[in-house]
Symmetry: C2
Subunit: 152 residues, 2 copies
């Protein structure tokens, strides 16, 4: 086993909040949420999950490696599309149960729908009893998914 | 029951990804992750969770209302500290199982440790078999938690 990135055991509250040990908390499914943002524009790109090994690989290779909950496999972002996310900085929060990835998004975008960001829609609260609706907030598709992923 | 924000039932993939219906997906615990960012500076502030009712309340009052997983209760952010998060915009992602809140953070900060952001530490990968470590990335505490929350 590669022991280059074994994470520290979780200590007490003060240690977790103020200490220098990185001891990420994985949930009951062994996952931690990771929010990827463009390091330059600060656009939110996508929210995905990592398990311990994918986080270790991410630190090792300097590119985002998630755990796909639907496919139940490691997901080296960009391995299929070429749209790799180069890690500029990883941050964790006070209780170390969430990550922010500041990344350089390579290629046309982060989203499998063909857009730069997965967060391409804004929620508009309903009025007078109406339901909330979504409106597009961006500049549309930046690539054709079929051309990149090879399927419609 | 207030029916002002009843969310749409989830349709097929195309509807979820390209449609105008807001049909958020809550996980097995009834929760959806919500990443709060400063609407102006784009600083990532905190990642918390909402259930259906807290999301409904958020849309209704225009301030972030989370579900506290530890306290198992609604968490109107700022109700104790005064550090309310006014909603500027809510975005959802392609499969509608994550939210980004662009907020105006009222008061000195989002984090209970006394900092503007909960993401005040950066992960540094270990070298030569060393473990990953955390380094502070910000300007330190912006308020004294004891003075705001009334306990040390």
């Amino acid at each position: 086993m590669d022991t280059q990135h074994v994470f520290a055991l979780r200590g007490g509250k003060a240690e977790i909040e103020e200490g220098a040990d990185f001891s990420p908390k994985f949930d009951a499914d062994g996952l931690i949420p990771a929010m990827a943002m463009d390091a330059t524009t600060r656009e939110p790109l996508m929210l995905a999950y990592m398990n311990e090994e994918s986080l270790r690989r991410t630190l090792e290779i300097g590119e985002a490696v998630y755990w796909s909950r639907s496919r139940k496999e490691f997901w080296h972002k960009g391995a299929t599309s070429g749209h790799i996310q180069k890690i500029v900085e990883i941050r964790t929060d006070c209780d170390q149960d969430a990550l922010v990835l500041l990344v350089e998004q390579i290629g046309a975008g982060a989203c499998h729908t063909g857009r730069n960001s997965c967060f391409y829609r804004t929620v508009k609260a309903g009025t007078d009893g109406g339901t909330a609706k979504l409106v597009m907030n961006g500049s549309g598709k930046s690539f054709e998914p079929a051309a990149v992923y090879g399927k419609p």
